[in-house]
């Protein structure tokens, strides 16, 4: 075969393969219509418990998304159940991978890990209040406003900051009541107004299943929701909710 022709064939094959892989990845992501967080009309699902969030995302068939989570905690505790780790050969070979959390073992401590392991979220941005960020990461940097810490979970990136990320991809947004542990409603509204984020599924979580969240924090969450104004359509989800989420 003529080398010039072969070169063209190789370039085409290699380029097509690379583009196809990229498209395969992007097409695996679920997305619905997104709006600007700062000014757009939003539907906010208010969840009573953190574990409700996994169900909400499951019902919305969320897959391969980026999550922006505002809260004080990581909710990413690894499954250290002894029976899961000390399995014998027969069990492993019979049951295949056993690293994924079953529905019964999802709690406020690990619901984000459950969403991660089920491929609902592929990467996450944790946004802490400035005070919580400073306490958690014990930073000596005078100016922490531009600091983002990048970590990874078995190769998948997680970002930790005290401000919203600068990304053009529509994201899932979850505001946990624990965010208001060291922040107030005005500060929250300020970062929302200044944000350029596009969001589609927005959840506000009261975290009633978390013993580390106070009633005062939940009240502030409610106030923030009210202060966001008439552009917000609220749906309640949970045990005491009158109906589930709309599609």
């Amino acid at each position: 075969m003529n080398k010039s022709v072969m070169n063209i064939v190789l370039v085409l094959i290699c380029t097509a393969a690379v583009l196809l892989m990229h498209r395969a990845g992007l097409s695996a992501r679920s997305e619905v219509e997104s709006s600007l967080l700062s000014t757009g009309r939003l539907t906010v699902v208010v969840a009573e418990r953190t574990t409700d969030l996994v169900r909400i995302w499951q019902e919305r068939q969320v897959q391969g998304r980026t999550l922006v989570h505002l809260g004080r905690f990581l909710h990413f505790v690894e499954n250290t159940d002894a029976s899961s780790i000390r399995m014998n050969t027969r069990d492993v070979l019979r049951a295949g991978g056993l690293t994924h959390l079953t529905a019964s073992s999802v709690t406020y401590r690990n619901f984000l890990r459950a969403a991660f392991e089920r491929n609902m979220i592929r990467q996450k941005y944790h946004v802490f209040s400035p005070q919580d960020f400073k306490e958690r990461f014990l930073s000596d940097t005078p100016d922490e406003s531009s600091k983002t810490i990048v970590d990874h979970e078995y190769g998948s990136r997680s970002f930790y900051s005290n401000r919203f990320p600068d990304t053009s991809e529509p994201v899932l947004l979850n505001v946990d009541a624990s965010y208001f542990h060291a922040s107030d409603v005005e500060s929250f509204l300020g970062i929302v107004r200044a944000s350029s984020l596009k969001v589609d599924i927005v959840t506000f979580c009261l975290a009633e299943d978390s013993p580390d969240v106070s009633e005062n924090e939940r009240i502030k969450l409610h106030q923030a929701l009210v202060r966001l104004g008439p552009r917000i359509h609220v749906i309640h989800y949970g045990r005491t909710a009158a109906a589930g989420i709309s599609r």
Partner: protein, 420 residues
């Protein structure tokens, strides 16, 4: 040509087949009685996690993913048992025997050196040890030797499809371990030099040839490597920019990685600078039927220690006889070993399988050259080969977990963790 060389040429195929059968027997013997190791259990979990869900896994997540793909296929096709688990390791390790003989014969022009290389790989106990595990180490000699063979075949025949095929094998090798790419610069350089030095050929033809070499041996292996991440893209929703970011994370981990189990780490010989100085070992431990089984894959000192003298001997031969083809094996050894030698972290001897094919071919070539000199050298080489075999016997018992109830338990105790 010596009598032995002549016989080797006449009965080459028969000897290669015999060596391959011996290799298969050595690797299969007692395998069904050997329950999966800790690493293999993790490998099986990772394989299902990767193929069904796209997760890189918990065990060795920082390594490329061909192992997960092949272990998954082995378990799916051949059943949820140790044979399904270890199928591809066995196949690749056994097929490496005829491959190394073909590559060695192509490089050295000597059937005797080729057969000797095949025999050394056949009885190498580090290779035997990892052939019996669902770990990706033994994939490397197979894919790298296949790639080298195809490159050499292209060099002599210029059949166009051979070079992209070589790129395919190197890409698959890289998808097992990154160090499968180490020989590529040397091979690409040899072909590029051939292209530029070709006489009676226009500049345009030489340019096309050079582009073809770079596409086949650089871009194509990269694309093949990328394609093995399809489950990760498809299940997890990642894009190409995120793939590059993850590769950087994996690279950062590989620069410092020292294993996940401290007890297992304590049992290892970690210093890669010792590979050519004294026997080094990789140790695995498990409990089966209430008793300990310790697997020790130890390098044969009668093969590895002569490597450095053989290296310089071949360099001398190349310069003295101005036969620059004799530089190929020393170059391959250098390019495969140097990255380990200068690595910032210590490297376990399982990674020596990246270097082993070059070692065996180089030592064999040196031995055959010496045999052709005098009768005394014939006897010396024969004596050396007997020492190799005598050493390989107890090493085989250690590699297959049979040494615990013998006098070899003193060696096993040497690798016991300090606080036990």
């Amino acid at each position: 040509m010596t009598r032995l060389e002549e016989l080797s040429g006449r009965y080459f195929i028969h000897c290669v087949i015999a060596c391959t059968v011996l290799a298969a027997l050595l690797r299969i013997y007692g395998l069904s009685d050997m329950p999966p190791l800790f690493d293999e259990i993790g490998t099986a979990r990772d394989a299902f996690d990767y193929m069904d869900h796209g997760h890189l896994g918990r065990v060795m997540w920082q390594h490329p993913k061909l192992r997960s793909i092949l272990v998954y296929e082995g378990l799916t096709v051949f059943g949820l048992n140790v044979w399904g688990l270890r199928f591809f390791s066995l196949v690749f390790s056994v097929m490496s025997i005829p491959l190394i003989s073909l590559v060695s014969r192509k490089i050295t022009g000597s059937s005797l050196a080729a057969l000797l290389s095949a025999f050394l790989l056949c009885v190498d106990t580090v290779h035997i040890d990892f052939s019996r595990q669902a770990i990706q180490e033994v994939y490397m000699p197979f894919f790298v030797l296949s790639g080298i063979l195809l490159v050499l075949a292209y060099r002599s025949t210029h059949k166009t499809l051979l070079l992209p095929l070589a790129g395919l094998f190197f890409g698959l090798g890289m998808a097992g371990k990154w160090y499968a790419s180490f020989p590529l610069p040397v091979l690409a350089l040899v072909l590029l030099l051939d292209a530029f030095q070709a006489r009676g050929v226009s500049f345009r033809v030489r340019l096309n040839e050079s582009i073809f070499i770079i596409l086949s041996l650089c871009f194509l292996p990269f694309v093949i490597y990328l394609l093995t991440y399809f489950p990760w893209f498809y299940h997890r929703g990642y894009g190409l920019d995120e793939w590059f970011a993850t590769q950087r994370i994996m690279y950062a981990e590989n620069l410092v990685h020292q294993g996940f189990n401290r007890k297992i780490v304590e049992m290892q010989d970690h210093n890669q600078l010792l590979w050519f100085i004294r026997p080094v070992a990789f140790v695995d431990f498990m409990l089966a039927e209430g008793r300990p089984i310790v697997l020790i894959g130890m390098t044969n000192p009668f093969i590895w220690i002569p490597t450095i003298p053989a290296f310089f001997y071949l360099l001398y031969q190349a310069v003295f006889s101005k036969d620059w083809n004799k530089l190929l094996l020393p170059s391959l050894l250098l390019i495969t070993y140097l990255p380990f030698a200068v690595a910032q972290r210590q490297v376990s001897v399982n990674s020596s399988l990246a270097v082993a094919p070059a070692v065996f071919m180089l030592v064999s070539q040196a031995a055959v050259i010496l045999m052709g000199k005098t009768r005394r050298w014939n006897i010396a080489v024969a004596g050396w080969l007997i020492l190799v075999i005598l050493c390989a016997i107890p090493l085989y018992l250690l590699a297959t977990g049979k040494g615990h109830d013998t006098i070899l338990h003193h060696i096993i105790d040497f690798y016991r963790p300090m606080d036990e």
